[in-house]
Amino acid sequence: MDFDQCLSDSVPTLYEGNLSLVSSKPNIKELLVESACEHNKDKKGSCNAPKPGATTGGCALDGAQIALFPFADAAHLVHGPMSCVGGAWETRLTPTSWSGRDLTQTGFATDINNNDVVFGGEKKLAAAINHIVANYAPEAVFVYSTCVPAMTGDDIDAVCKQMSEKHGTPCVPVHAPGFVGAKNLGSRIAGEAVLRHLIGTKEPEYTTPFDINLIGEHNNTGELWRYRHLLEELGIRVLSTFSGDGRISEIRTAHRAKLNVIVCAKSLVSMTRKMQEQYGIPWISCSFYGKTDTSASILAIAEALGDADLIERTRALIAREEARLEEQLMPYRAIFAGKKAVLNTGGNKAWSIASALQDLGIEVVATSVRKSTEADKAKAREYLGENAILMTEPASQQAKVIDDTGAHLLLAGGRSLYTAIKKRIAFTDVNQEKKKSYGGYDGLLVLAEDLKNSLQNPVFELVERKAPWQK
């Protein structure tokens, strides 16, 4: 699950401009009109164009990399200057079981200079690919375009084609220069590139009736590994993932799956929809956050595969896991009893984390619906109940909400830490999940431990104490 990708506030920006700038393949206009963007219904195409001087969030390149980086057996070559990669490589855990060198954690960049801008960077790009293939023997090379070479018109497609033929290693052009839009669009472009250049280029050694692809599961903190073994225990085979702990050789066979499971990534709906058109693979959308959602998701997969015996075994497994979890959660119950939390985070986290908190017996008295889609809002209301406060301006509202509700805990991004300190209540950085996994059944235990530590930490009371000599 990559919640960055789930944030509905990073719905794509307008891309109606000069398509020739982005020399080729994906029809970006088409990607944008994709109905996954709910805002599109009323505002044709132009939802959330980035506002100059008031824009946060990464660019398309960022999104494309997040989507593809977890392929540890592929090289990720950024054709661009150091702004695009200097601070950005090796920033995610994205663990892998790949036994070769972990190329996710290896930064490659052409570091284009003045010369490349004036005379073109294609030769340099080709030489860079040669270097990578010779020294790192990747299963594929993803070549990411960036703003400057997209402007100067480097023909990345031609270079990739030529290099693929020369080396017999797929070189996949990813046209996601930052000026085409935000992260979500980049994620779609990445999906498009994989669909166009990799999926369907290889046959699996064998197939089973229960082969699935996990789409949008990036295993950023090992969350895939919290439930993959449960699927396997049921005889459900993960044929490929896009792209957590992924393998290029597996994604190339993804067209033979019986079911696509989108894990919390709306931006990849276009990809699965196209796979349905091209290969007849149905898809469902799942979340593995908290007990309730994890159980529901595993059951949904079994039901979608449509085998009565499988469904029955799944129910048994869920019952077993929930009972086990319940027992392990016992010591926490007393600590969390009667505790109220305010949640300030974006998109579908507004309800998915809420659901996990409720699983722990914590009452979620308010959540943020800033920039949430209508569906997310409805879901938040459904999860939280009638009395909960849906904050539209959480930054200015949350302090008062804490007062009004007597909340004990604030879960939010780092920027809200000060509110918690001022109110002297416990704080948990929701972005911790970038470091450790809260996914699956066992992730709930990790979340419980972190929340317990927050609630019992004296620092929030102490840090802003007045010095004895202050009046």
Binding site: P52, S83, F179
Partner: protein, 442 residues
């Protein structure tokens, strides 16, 4: 003198440590009080930069982008996106200064930011920092020059007590503060430009700041020209001396390549004695000099048997290598992010402009690594030890308060390195013992 290789000769960077010019510009603008750095480019460059410095400093970072998209990229010469940005920023808050700087995209487009800036009547400083040229150091220096060039009023009067301090980009906030305190101890009033010592020094602020909080003020920048002295620390900022002198030729410029180690600090202190007209050191300075001398003796045995790889910005390399050399540390390899005139003066056997792939290929040349957090994984692969210094450091907290320079910081630095080297050797001994045990059993 080092053997220097100024060009990598490779068509790419593998495991790069180089950072971009706009990143350097961002830091410089963050050293100005109540400033909003505004990066003119597509949104990603600002986002990557913001995320990097937020994680490095564990502090919120004020930074905005003109969010150039494809339509603007084609149709707009910068007027629209810059003017709109400033309007949108000022809808919410009124910065003392807007720091406008370009990226590769807007330079390739050929936006005339100077022209746009001339039409805008809010306090603004502009600078061209394409990311296909230079690096972190040059972005910092160009911005510092632009601040002085565009804000400082020319003058001909001199305040004999006033001194402008220009640190290089790799000096941590606490180091700038300690350097300022040292100079102040000689009776000077010091203005640091830029000044991260009060903005990114990990202090608990009043509230979550949306602008930089702390740093040199715009008013101070306007009145720099009556300083008696400007001192520049680090070869990359040397040209800033002339920039300030252009405002008042009577200002005296004194340059130091670094202020690290016994000799480097002595040089500064000797100069301070001379220009302040004093004949005795402040007692605390004297005391720290003695502590450093003792630290040198205590650490020489460990450091003297260690071969180092340094990975950093050129000025940072020069400073660290000097400290290590003084106690016999063998800097066998120094890898710089970019070319710089200082490279030939770095006290290392070999200095190259390169990346961490180069470091990996030359693994036999060194035992211990000092570099940014990427060297942690490198050390792990090579079964060596790394000590974290430089940008970015996502592995550790408290980097802004790491003090390596002057007598005091020099002592801390030597202790930390010597201890790390000892632990590294102990671990090696343990490994060897385990091996022997296993062989015996087998």
């Amino acid at each position: 003198m080092a053997e220097v290789r100024r060009k990598s000769g490779k068509p790419l960077q593998v495991n790069p440590h180089k950072l971009s010019q706009p990143m350097g510009a961002t830091l410089a603008f963050l050293g100005v009080d109540r400033c909003m750095p505004l990066m003119h480019g597509a949104q990603g460059c600002a986002s990557f930069t913001k995320v990097m410095f937020t994680r490095h400093f564990c502090e919120p970072i004020a930074l905005q982008t003109t969010a150039v998209n494809d339509v603007i990229a084609v149709l707009d010469g910068g007027d629209y996106s810059i003017v709109e940005s400033i309007k949108n920023i000022r809808d919410k808050l009124i910065p003392e200064l807007i720091g406008l700087y370009t990226t590769g995209l807007t330079e390739t487009k050929g936006d005339d930011i100077r022209g746009v800036a001339s039409k805008i009547d809010v306090p603004l400083v502009y600078v061209n920092t394409p990311d296909f040229k230079g690096g972190l150091e040059s972005g910092w220096t160009l911005t510092t020059q632009a601040l002085i060039d565009q804000l400082t009023a020319p003058g001909d009067r001199i305040d004999a007590q006033k001194l402008v301090l220009v640190p290089h980009v790799s000096m941590q906030p606490i180091e700038v503060e300690k350097l300022r305190e040292l100079i102040e101890a000689f009776g000077f009033k010091v203005v640091a430009v830029p000044d991260l010592s009060s903005s990114l020094d990990n202090h608990l602020g009043e509230k979550q700041a949306s602008l930089s909080s702390g740093g040199v003020t715009v008013a101070e920048l306007e009145q720099l020209a009556d300083a008696a002295f400007v001192i520049t620390v680090g070869a990359s900022v040397k040209p800033v001396g002339a920039t300030l002198q252009a405002k008042n030729p009577a200002i005296q410029h004194r340059h130091f390549n670094h202020v690290s180690g016994l000799v480097g600090t002595d040089e500064l202190v000797a100069w301070l004695l001379e220009v302040s007209g004093r004949d005795t050191l402040p007692a605390v300075v004297e005391r720290w000099r003695k502590r450093l001398q003792d630290a040198m003796l205590d650490s020489h045995f460990s450091i003297g048997q260690t071969r180092f790889l340094l990975v950093a910005e050129p000025d940072h390399l020069a400073a660290m290598a000097a400290s290590l050399r003084e106690v016999g540390g063998k800097v066998t390899l120094a890898i710089a992010t970019v070319d710089s005139p200082i490279l030939t003066d770095i006290e290392a056997d070999q200095v190259i402009v390169g990346d961490l792939e180069d470091a990996e290929n030359m693994r036999d040349a060194y035992d211990m690594i000092i570099g940014n957090f990427h060297t942690e994984a490198l050390a792990h692969r090579l079964e060596k030890k790394a000590v974290m210094r430089g940008f970015p450091n996502y592995e550790e907290i408290g980097g802004a308060l790491k003090h390596d320079v002057l007598y005091e910081g020099g002592a801390y630095f030597l202790f930390e390195i010597a201890n790390a080297a000892e632990r590294m050797r102990e671990a090696q001994v343990h490994r060897e013992r385990e091996q022997i045990k296993r062989q015996r059993i087998a």
